[in-house]
């Protein structure tokens, strides 16, 4: 019963995305608003991408100069040796940065190597840059957010734990709010899906992943925040950890059910084996895409609706957009928690499958 997940909010979101993108395309046809619409579209796309500075906001001054508010972050490259420099050298992607005789340029939020101080990005027919890409381990805006969430979670839960010790096993302060959630993860997610016997081993991962996704999603909803979970690399990382834990905790039964399904005739066993094997990859892949797509979609719709305020530029349309943005903001708050919940439940479900003991066959 618990394994059934309501798809309604997701469907609604996808529906909204469809309308939003449809609307945007219509706007793009030679209307006087085109410039603004394109600008908004670009802004949205830029916002969804990672960046090398922590910019809070930016605007274009009257003389056409771009003003940025924020601070630069360290860029770490591996290009025949470690290169560390401040992202202020790129001047928000407008100039080429020179480090130890190498020249780098930012193109579509990625660092490419260029020939010289005036080196340009060479694009092929598919608009793909052909320049050499150094290995990039920069502390980008997303990495900064991850670090912030890391610190917040660490100190928050460490404090909660010490409060228990000091208070003789009773929660205090934040712990009173967090304890029901921790217990919810244990009693409603871990135990029903994994089972009384094995659940303890997975609690650390489930709790961490739940709170991490939730907090990161919530930060994504704040105006300063950058949504970490709309990066495929992040969701891929989370999904692959779930996959690895599932694979390494799989017992004899789990593998038997994949490679030699009991209770079906031999030809079926042979057909089922590759399907089941593929299934083990598809499950974490779906986890990855689900989280990524939901959060990205939410952001696109949210920003499109906010952008519509400027396109309408009249009080009825703009206030309608504002109202819609408000409603969607509330929905996004729900989605933030829901996605964390879904990711955790499905991870727990996969762990449960891996350690399940079939007694009657």
């Amino acid at each position: 019963m618990r394994r059934k997940i309501s798809l309604k909010p997701i469907t609604l979101l996808l529906l909204l995305v469809t309308f939003a993108s449809f609307g945007k395309e219509q706007d793009g046809h030679g209307e006087p608003k085109t410039d603004q619409a394109t600008e908004i579209k670009e802004y949205i796309q830029h916002h969804l991408k990672d960046s090398y500075d922590f910019s809070l906001f930016s605007y274009t001054a009257e003389n056409g100069e771009h003003k940025y508010f924020g601070f630069p972050l360290p860029v770490i490259l591996w290009d025949n040796g470690l290169k560390v420099f401040s992202s202020s050298k790129f001047h928000h992607g407008e100039t080429v940065a020179e480090v130890d005789g190498n020249y780098y340029r930012v193109h579509h939020s990625k660092i490419y190597k260029v020939d010289g101080p005036n080196g340009q990005i060479i694009e092929d027919d598919h608009h793909h840059a052909t320049n050499e890409k150094p290995l990039d381990f920069s502390i980008t805006k997303n990495v900064t957010m991850i670090m912030m969430v890391f610190l917040i979670m660490f100190f928050m839960f460490k404090r909660m734990a010490t409060a228990y010790k000091k208070n003789g096993g009773m929660p205090k302060g934040m712990g009173r709010l967090l304890e029901p959630i921790v217990l919810y993860v244990r009693d409603e997610i871990a135990i029903p899906n994994i089972g009384e016997k094995h659940y303890k081993r997975y609690m650390s991962y489930l709790l961490t992943v739940f709170f991490f996704i939730w907090i990161v999603n919530l930060f994504g909803l704040t105006p300063i925040g950058m949504n970490v979970t709309n990066n495929i690399a992040v969701t891929f990382c989370l999904a692959i950890i779930t996959y690895l834990i599932t694979t390494f905790s799989g017992n004899k039964n789990y593998w038997k059910h994949i490679f030699w399904m009991p209770g079906v005739p031999v030809p079926m066993k042979i057909i089922l084996a590759p399907i089941e094997l593929l299934g083990t990859f598809i499950k974490p892949f779906a986890l990855m895409i689900r989280l990524y797509a939901n959060i990205t979609a939410g952001h696109i719709v949210m920003m499109s609706i906010i952008g519509m305020m400027f396109i309408f530029n009249n009080w009825i349309g703009s206030s309608l957009s504002l109202f819609l943005a408000f409603v969607l903001g509330i929905l996004e708050l729900l989605v933030a928690a829901l996605q964390a919940y879904i990711f955790t439940v499905l991870s727990a479900l996969y762990f449960g499958m891996a350690v399940e003991e079939h007694e009657h066959h």
Partner: protein
């Protein structure tokens, strides 16, 4: 798909993996373990306390049942004791009555015997007195007789009037 692969950033993946795994391990050691242990301890404590209360309640019930039983026994004992006492009383009264009856019987027989003896003695005494009186009378009569005939008769009569038989 191309969009997805294009958006994939190795650096971000690297940092996310490092930071996230570090976070899991750190939180496991410093937060989740102590938190879950405390919660478990607390839950155990509550469960134990409830069990203890239940046990105490059961004991109390047992105790009450025992009390009831004791009370019942005591009441029964009192009943029997009272009954015995009553029986004893009755028996004692009965015995006393018998004894008294016996003693009274004895006394009566004794009294009857002594009355008989006294009677016999009295009759003997009377006999002897009558005899003496008769002799005295006879003597006086004889003496009077000898002097005056009337007087003699008178005398006998007065004598006889005086001599009231005891």
């Amino acid at each position: 798909m191309e969009e997805l692969l294009g958006g994939f950033s190795l650096g971000l993946f690297f940092w996310q993996a490092v930071l996230f795994i570090a976070l899991i391990l750190l939180l496991k050691k410093f937060a989740w373990k102590p938190i879950l242990d405390s919660v478990n301890d607390r839950e155990e404590g509550i469960k134990n306390a409830l069990d203890a209360a239940e046990k105490a309640k059961l004991e109390m019930q047992n105790l009450q049942a025992d009390n009831q039983k004791l009370l019942k026994e005591a009441r029964a004992e009192r009943e029997t004791m009272l009954k015995e006492a009553r029986d004893m009383k009755n028996k004692m009264i009965e015995d006393a009555k018998d004894e008294a009856k016996e003693a009274a019987g004895k006394l009566i027989t004794q009294a009857q015997a002594s009355i008989e003896t006294e009677k016999k003695a009295a009759i003997a005494d009377l006999k002897s007195q009558v005899a003496n009186l008769s002799i005295e009378i006879a003597e006086k009569v004889v003496r009077e007789e000898l002097s005056n005939k009337d007087k003699q008769v008178k005398l006998v009569e007065s004598m006889l009037g005086e001599a009231t038989l005891n």
